[in-house]
């Protein structure tokens, strides 16, 4: 039984087009020209309860538009969508109590008041009893390390604290499905780590389903086993993150520290030479050839240190988006 189902989801919207210069300005004033932008085209996927799925794509690929359709903020131009047994754009009260959307650059908390005041409004809106409200605020502020911060005006909180307070507000009603759009945007490394840890814990504690977009690959690798890749409005990959890595990164990186500076020509028989800096060498070696190649290196060269790593995931994803396809 799936909790999110998208079937050939489309979103087309008109965008006003204006030529530069005075002529363009005047013609834009008297006769508006529009072109249709296909923001999302035929996107289909299903997500099971308690899954944590990464939703990746370059800027303007259609991630946020898809999230807006899944949360019912905008109407799809075509296709079917169902979330937690509801059609999102009908915005049924029952549906709205089952979901949440956290947008890194948008806030729901009242800026000039302590977060606790906004939380009280949320508690009344979602009909959470006073006792339950106190319990949940305690629990979530513990998980988010926000104790003592909820009585300060939101504008006085640091960016990281504000984001965590936004998360608390978005999760106070214990939604089953979390849509997170860049939840760690602009946060420092420590705050990013704590938000990630919180999401992991929330997912495990409440079996919540999470669909997450992020430009920080560390968010994706820490939280998601499965990723959806969207490019120019079309879904180009839906599967395990590991599989994507091995399919798109058939090489592993071998870093060597040698006793003496090597002859670069001599290194080519082991693999593709990425860089040679003094006694340090970086080679790309096919995954299938890794074991025999490393044995040969150790037998033929005087090696002080050897490390094997995967290329950075950002590089792999970047390569996928550059080509626009996975296969």
């Amino acid at each position: 039984m799936t909790i999110i189902t998208c079937d050939h989801l489309d979103k087309v919207y008109p965008v006003a087009v204006k030529e530069p210069g005075l002529k363009g300005t005047l013609s834009h004033f008297f006769q508006r020209q529009h072109r249709l932008v296909k923001a999302v085209q035929g996107v289909s996927f299903q997500i099971d309860p308690a899954e944590v799925v990464g939703f990746l794509g370059p800027n303007g690929a259609g991630k946020t538009t898809t999230l807006k359709m899944l949360t019912g903020l905008i109407h799809p131009s075509g296709g079917q969508v169902q979330v937690a047994g509801h059609i999102p754009f009908r915005r049924h009260a029952k549906f709205l109590t089952k979901i949440t959307l956290v947008m890194g650059q948008k806030q729901q908390l009242l800026w000039d008041l302590p977060a606790l005041d906004s939380l009280k409004i949320n508690a009344a809106v979602y009909q959470i009893s006073r006792r339950e409200f106190e319990y949940r605020v305690d629990e979530l502020s513990d998980m988010l390390a926000l104790r003592g911060k909820l009585t300060q005006p939101v504008r006085k909180l640091s960016l990281g604290e504000r984001m965590k307070a936004e998360l608390l507000a978005a999760l106070l009603h214990h939604p089953q499905v979390l849509f997170l759009d860049e939840p760690t945007l602009g946060l420092d490394v420590n705050a990013q780590v704590s938000v990630r840890e919180f999401l992991k814990e929330y997912n495990q504690r409440y079996n919540a389903t999470i669909l997450l977009t992020s430009h920080y690959m560390a968010d994706i690798t820490a939280l998601c086993d499965r990723v959806l890749l969207i490019h120019q409005g079309q879904l180009i990959y839906d599967g395990a993150l590991n599989q994507l890595m091995s399919r798109f990164a058939p090489y592993r990186e071998v870093k060597l520290e040698l006793v003496q500076p090597p002859d670069p020509a001599d290194l080519q028989k082991y693999g593709e030479v990425e860089a040679v800096t003094g006694r340090e060498v970086r080679l790309l070696v096919r995954r299938a050839d890794l074991t025999p190649t490393v044995s040969k290196i150790l037998a033929n060269l005087q090696v002080l240190d050897l490390t094997i790593t995967d290329p950075p995931i950002e590089e792999i994803i970047g390569r996928v988006f550059q080509s626009g396809k996975v296969t």
């Binding site: 109407h75 915005r91 947008m103 948008k106 009344a124 979602y126």
Partner: protein, 262 residues
């Protein structure tokens, strides 16, 4: 029912705290709406030298009542709503199982309370400086006047919120309000009591919402003879019509909303 009261209480308490954050602004808002006091000076002066159906004292009472009614019926929802639509700030509110309008209603209602001490202070000061203008409205006038003020606020809010919904399409809905405000200024009785208008104009204007936003509640408070039942009936009719158009536009607008910037 308990849940409803809890919602009302939570919204009012929080938005009251929100409004009190802007103490200096509140005082400036009260002062910024002192146009009726300026008009009072102009008309009282004119009354001493001209032939009008109202005396200088009548004008003074009329305009202090206009000041009071304005304090309770000021609406700014269109500016907030337009920003929410254009900047995508409406999105988080659309995701909650409550109509976003209640945030604005609560904001306006609690602002009335926050503003009350300032405007009361100004009215007391006025009567200290001009004691002969002091009067007590009769009981029916007071009850009718308060009821008419509540309805005037409701009507003005519905009308402005209906204009605000055009932000889903035109993105600069405030321009509509600015045009409307011109008519409101002249036809509501804010610049001059409608008694001074030619009969032909009054006969037409009395079927529009304008006189009910200021002149009608003021007349009840000051004791200017006015058809009470007809006045309330027309106000209710405009509220009903406004509400129908409002809900129709909301349903269409929400389909048109693209959550810009979000």
């Amino acid at each position: 029912m308990t849940a409803l009261f809890r919602k009302i209480k939570a919204f009012l308490v929080v938005y009251y705290a929100y409004m009190l954050e802007y103490r200096a602004e509140l005082l400036l808002w009260v002062l910024a709406n002192s146009l009726p006091l300026i008009m009072m000076g102009v008309w009282s002066q004119a009354a001493t030298g001209g032939q009008f159906s109202l005396t200088a004292l009548d004008f003074a009472r009329y305009f202090i009542a206009v000041f009071v009614v304005r304090q309770f019926t000021i609406v700014w929802v269109i500016w907030d709503f337009e920003r929410e639509v254009v900047e995508g700030k409406l999105s988080p509110r659309l995701l909650q199982p409550i109509d976003p309008v209640w945030h604005h209603v609560a904001g306006h209602a609690s602002e009335r309370l926050a503003r009350l001490p300032f405007s009361t202070g100004l009215v007391i000061l006025f009567f200290i400086l001009y004691p002969q203008a002091f009067w007590w409205p009769n009981l029916m006038g007071l009850i009718g006047g308060i009821l008419a003020i509540v309805l005037a606020f409701t009507l003005r809010f519905i009308i402005q919120y209906t204009f605000a919904l055009f932000a889903f399409w035109v993105e600069r809905a405030t321009a509509i309000e600015q045009l409307w405000f011109l008519f409101y200024l002249f036809l509501s009785g804010m610049i001059a009591p409608l008694d001074l208008f030619p009969d032909a104009v009054r006969n037409v204007v009395e079927w529009t919402p304008f006189p009910y936003l200021i002149y009608f509640p003021v007349s009840l408070l000051v004791g200017i003879p006015t058809p009470v039942a007809k006045g309330f009936a027309i106000m209710l009719a405009w509220c009903g019509l406004g509400l129908l158009i409002n809900r129709w536009l909301w349903r269409r607008g929400i389909k048109h909303y693209s959550g810009m910037g979000a």
